[in-house]
């Protein structure tokens, strides 16, 4: 057996520490993405955005926001179901963070290379909806209830196209392991060849999954005032809503990057010297930027319009996509 650096790492405690580190990096990552969102939004809107915190272009703005949230009073209304109410931030955070267990940062830089990695990722990413629904119910607030119900309705609408688009990728790659799927895209990402339609469907469904404009009806501030999280304050608000949203956004972008852009796999054979994690971060970052760009450009749809869009457009399209993928696969064209 050839001993390489990777194999040493794969069996050592060092790797365990690295793997834990990836999870621990998630919180700072949300701060970074939050800052990027503030800045991108500001520049799209002819503004400067944060400029003071941290002295240089407001780099510490999200950190300061987080610290402020820690100092705030944690308010719970009298009619609140306190146990469920307090559990919600854990559920939404956990659901979003668990996706990272199977996402490969490099060929071996994956916490657990499960054989059913894709299945697992899609399954755990839906856990946060339970948290949102619980928040909607436990808050004893009508707006929250509507937000929770909207989130549940939205789950039914986008989950199918999301899974169907991912299923076509699994068929294409012939595996459910995310590492194998990434490897199958060595030098030709699926988004460019074989699965461009699936990529678009997945992106639309993923936007709905993370509840961002134009599919942010569960949190629509102008209608139901942040929906399920109306009654949340202080750290519960910061973790239950902000951190969970950003982690989910990073997770979904990372998943999409792995499924359709090849994750850590370089785009060109000539660029192999650039390490895998860098490729992974570039691709994930691009998708995050895309989500931010969409968010600050579009108005939001109505819940029934999303349902119509999902059932009449996305699901038929993804079924066609699966059919075509299967046919091409049988004909050995791809």
């Amino acid at each position: 057996m050839v001993t390489t650096l990777h194999h040493i790492l794969a069996n050592s405690i060092v790797l365990l520490a690295l793997k834990l580190g990836i999870l621990l990096l998630l919180l700072p990552a949300t701060l970074v993405v939050g800052y990027v969102e503030l800045k991108v939004m500001a520049h799209m809107q002819h503004r400067l955005g944060p400029m003071y915190a941290g002295a240089y272009h407001g780099w510490a703005q999200t950190l300061a926001d987080g610290l402020k949230f820690i100092q705030k009073e944690d308010i719970m209304a009298a009619a609140t179901d306190r146990t469920v109410f307090s559990m919600v931030p854990y559920i939404t955070m956990l659901g979003a963070a668990l996706t990272f267990v199977v996402i490969p940062f490099s060929r071996h830089g994956v916490i657990a290379n499960l054989d059913i990695g894709l299945f697992y990722a899609l399954a755990v990413s839906s856990i946060s909806v339970i948290g949102v629904l619980a928040a909607g119910w436990a808050s004893a607030n009508k707006y929250s209830l509507m937000g929770g119900l909207r989130a549940a309705a939205q789950l039914i609408a986008y989950e199918l196209p999301l899974v169907l688009a991912a299923a076509a990728v699994a068929m294409q790659a012939g595996s459910l392991s995310l590492v194998s799927i990434a490897e199958a895209q060595r030098y030709v990402p699926f988004a460019l060849w074989a699965q461009p339609l699936g990529f678009l469907i997945f992106l639309a469904a993923a936007t709905a999954e993370v509840s961002r404009t134009p599919f942010d009806m569960p949190v629509a501030e102008a209608e139901i005032i942040t929906g399920a999280f109306t009654e949340y304050s202080a750290m519960k608000f910061a973790f239950g809503l902000f951190a969970a949203e950003y982690i989910a956004m990073i997770g979904m972008s990372a998943l999409a990057a792995t499924l359709f852009l090849g994750g850590y796999v370089p785009l060109l054979p000539q660029l192999r010297f650039v390490p895998g994690p860098v490729w992974f971060l570039i691709k994930t970052g691009l998708l995050i930027f895309l989500l931010i760009w969409i968010r600050w450009t579009f108005p939001r749809l109505r819940e029934d319009q999303l349902q119509k869009f999902a059932w009449k457009v996305l699901i038929p399209l993804s079924l066609v996509n699966i059919f075509v993928t299967g046919a091409l696969k049988l004909a050995h064209w791809t």
């Binding site: 939004m41 009806m217 579009f298 108005p299 939001r300 819940e303 319009q305």
Partner: protein, 383 residues
């Protein structure tokens, strides 16, 4: 503030749900709610997300202007009236001065009349820009409001240069204006409207060209023209129904009959049309401002006005085209230096009184699209 109307507590009819028992929920929207920009409260009965009944509840900002003006003389009331619709102070002040001038048969110099038109139209633009931006915001599009405020700032600066204020101007006096405009105003105003006209296509593309925006607004909150007339709806909302009622045209005041401008008309009377009319009106206002700046005559900014303003006994109705619709003052004078009675007919009051009919049967998100396109200012509803 009143009480909950009877029909809001009625037991719902279950026949439409096929026997399936659904429960209605009374949702209290406002007085603190981002979509009611101000302290309007709407009591809505919802079945799921569909609105079964809705009733606007007003009065959270009732300041009793009609009572207060009975103790102020005719110059003082200007400052009070400018606080009703705080987005268009100049437009609030003009008809009050007109009423006094017409009763005293005062001569207003042409320069003052031109300047009034310019200020009123600039003020109309700032008001419309505010609603252009906030309507996008209510539908979830966060960026247009920033663009709108960028253009608004320049025009706001021009108004500030003249009046020293940004909201409550208190600049129109019976007989003319408080002061003449300072140097640099003409150039600044021209720059402001030119930049606006150059940027309006951006709003049109960003919002009206957007498929999602169309889905959210086309056919939503359609206002029946007969219902609109019944409720005295006016301004962009009435014109979106296709009714050409613009007081600047129908009953010209100041020197509006000397300028060339069109009255944009909608066809469907839905949220989209209301928004479309609003944006088109900015272009027309810009046209008027350009013409008035070109033809601005020399002369005095205020005519000969007696030091102590005492009106003859009598009554007069004076109305003008406020950015939001018809603003009318019914002035009753008993021969003193204060109004005996001043009935203030504000556009937002009449416009929002029809909202209950429009909200019935809509979805909760449509409520936002409808209220957002009713362009109201709470201070203008409550007075």
């Amino acid at each position: 503030m009143g009480t909950v109307p009877e029909d809001l507590t009625r037991v719902p009819d279950l026949s439409s749900t096929g026997g399936l028992h659904t429960e209605e929920m009374v949702l209290n929207v406002g007085p603190q709610h981002p979509a009611t920009h101000g302290v309007l409260r709407v009591l809505v009965s919802v079945d799921g997300e569909r609105i079964v009944r809705a009733e606007p509840v007003i009065g959270y900002m009732h300041r009793g202007h009609e009572k207060l003006v009975e103790q102020r003389d005719f110059r003082q009331i200007t400052n009070l009236l400018s606080r009703m619709d705080w987005l268009s102070g100049i437009n609030n002040e003009i008809p009050a001065s007109l009423a006094v001038e017409r009763m005293l048969e005062l001569e207003v110099p042409r320069r003052a009349q031109y300047l009034r038109v310019i200020l009123a139209e600039l003020n109309r633009i700032t008001n419309h820009l505010m609603f252009t931006g906030s309507f996008g915001l209510e539908l979830g599009a966060t960026t247009p409001v920033m663009y709108a405020f960028r253009e608004r700032e320049l025009i706001q600066e021009a108004l500030e240069l003249v009046t020293g204020g940004r909201m409550h101007f208190g600049f129109i006096r019976p007989g003319g204006l408080k002061e003449d405009v300072p140097r640099g105003f003409v150039e600044l105003a021209r720059r402001g409207v030119r930049q606006l006209v150059a940027k309006i296509p951006d709003y049109e593309n960003l919002l009206m060209g957007n498929e999602i925006f169309k889905q959210r607004t086309v056919g939503v909150g359609r206002l029946d023209p007969a219902l609109a007339l019944d409720h005295g709806v006016s301004g962009p909302i009435l014109r979106a129904c296709g009714i050409p009622y613009d007081i600047r045209k129908v009953d010209p005041y100041l020197v509006y009959d000397e300028f060339e401008f069109d009255t944009p008309l909608g066809a469907q009377g839905d949220s989209f049309d209301r928004f479309w009319v609003l944006v088109q009106e900015m272009k027309e206002s810009a046209r008027i401002v350009e013409q008035a700046l070109d033809g601005l005559p020399e002369g005095s900014h205020i005519g000969a006005v007696p030091k102590r303003l005492t009106l003859p006994k009598g009554q007069i109705y004076c109305h003008a085209e406020n950015p939001l619709g018809e603003l009318g003052y019914y002035l009753v004078s008993d021969g003193g230096n204060k109004p005996y009675r001043l009935k203030i007919r504000t556009p937002s009051f009449s416009n929002i009184s029809v909202a209950a009919h429009m909200l019935r049967g809509a979805f909760v998100p449509d409520m936002i699209a409808i209220l957002g396109s009713m362009f109201f200012v709470v201070g203008d509803i409550d007075r």
